[in-house]
Amino acid sequence: MKKSAFEVCNVTKEIGGKKILNNINFTCEDYTSVAIRGSNGSGKSTLLKILAGIYEPSSGEVKRGNRKVGYVTEHFPENLRFKVKEYLTLTSSFQGTSKQHIEEELLDYIEMFNLHPYVDTPLKKCSKGTKQKVGLIQAIMRKPDLLLLDEPLTGLDSSTQNELFDLLENLKKQATIIFTTHEEKLIENLADSVFYIESGEFVCSPKKRVVQKLIKVKFSDPAIIEKLNLNDITYEGNTAFISVDASGSDELLLVLLNKQCSIMEVREKR
């Protein structure tokens, strides 16, 4: 059974006499990914800052134990006086990691995010997308148990967005990910559950994302597939692409194998 990564109990936050969050309650399991949605000014970023420990709740409590937090802001700071590599090396050194270890690890991330041409570029001169990548790397290099991302797709081109999806998908095995977003694409790709927040309150209960599997199967007789009464199915010659809920995929695979079909591919549907 998965452990609870943290618990938010009756959290209310007032800033300058204005109630930003009102009586927020939710729990999140380890190694899951949660999307927080809501309109501008609804309190998403404030909630994320409370989870990160930047703000403290006016009332209520956030129980996160000793989990290490990585935080990515929506807008990377504009006036940092460092070069890309220098900044990442310095911020990683806050944890007491050796310089050699940091540099080895940094090389991998620089490669992954195609930052080679910019390693010695002052951050002030970098594009928004490059800064966003640097923001992500600084958070990931902390090896967080809880990764908080505020609108992580801001400023990223589509190829980098795809790289980020893959990276976050991998990170899910090591950390709990919570992100705010307006973009459906990110929710579809990453979120296990979605919370809606409006005017500082959760307006509906968390909605679990239904994970679907796509099964590519080769058949000899179309009647075999038709008899299964499946709803979501497309054909390409004698190959069928079947979409099913992940929970029922094993059972279906067994049926297909018993009916002499060849399973070509099974993957999580995006």
């Binding site: 800052k49 290490k68 990585g70 935080y71 802001t73 504009e78 006086r81 310095l90 911020t91 050194s93």
Partner: protein, 234 residues
């Protein structure tokens, strides 16, 4: 912490904000020792006052070098707001020690004093420079990162506190009603009072009494400032 102090040092140096306070301090020092045969302890009292003012200025600079988003990221990267505050103070103390070394050694190297310098002079000068630098750092912090740090009047308010604390003796004599209120201000004159007579040979009970009060004020002041900072950053 070492990594954060390095981060802050690079950021502060590259912001070039060090230039005005460092220039003012050096010019002050050069003017102070423009003439030779000056008294030892009175001169050190003046350079202690200079370090008091300059450290307030420098601290306010150090706390203003980053924008809000960078500060938020640092809170998370450092895992604690107190570490952020202590890191900032670390940088301020580093510059305070540099200024202090310059203020104490420059006149000795230049042979500006009228008499021979004795260990008690060095001891008293280190004490006064260090304590006044710390008072400056505390005032700079109060008007940078606590609820007193309103953008419009923070510099003016800091200046007011500096002026009142330096004129404590005169004010408490003339306006006796304010005597108790003035206890809230850094006891600068309690430190400088012993930097008058170069013929001093040993510290006495009066000195120890006032030194204990100064020490207590520093400790309580530091605790209060930390709490005010954490309260502001809730």
């Amino acid at each position: 912490m070492q990594g954060f102090i390095r981060y802050q040092f690079i950021s502060y140096i590259r912001s070039l904000k060090i230039i005005p306070p460092a220039t003012v301090f050096c010019v002050w020092l050069f003017l102070l020792y423009a003439y030779s045969n000056v008294p030892i302890l009175s001169s050190y009292a003046v350079s202690s006052m200079a370090i008091y003012l300059v450290m307030t200025w420098l601290t306010m600079n150090v706390f203003s070098i980053e924008e809000e988003i960078e500060k938020n990221m640092l809170f998370v990267q450092l895992t604690s707001k107190t570490r952020y505050l202590f890191g900032k103070w670390g940088i301020c103390l580093l510059f305070a020690v540099l200024f202090m070394a310059l203020a104490i050694l420059y006149p000795i190297v230049m042979g500006s004093f009228k008499g021979p310098i004795r260990p008690i002079h060095i001891g008293l000068s280190i004490y006064s420079h260090l304590i006044l630098a710390w008072f400056g750092i505390l005032i700079g912090t109060i008007f940078s990162v606590t609820s007193f740090a309103t953008k419009k009047y923070s510099w003016l308010s800091a200046l007011l506190v500096l002026t009142i604390s330096l004129s404590y003796e005169g004010l408490s004599e003339k306006i006796t009603v304010l005597k108790w209120l003035l206890l809230l201000f850094p006891p600068v004159t309690h430190v400088l009072i012993f930097l008058k007579d170069d013929e001093i040979t040993q510290i006495d009970g009066d000195f120890l009494q006032l030194a204990i009060w100064v020490f207590l004020y520093s400790v309580i002041g530091t605790i209060v400032v930390v709490r005010m900072f954490l309260r502001k950053e809730r």
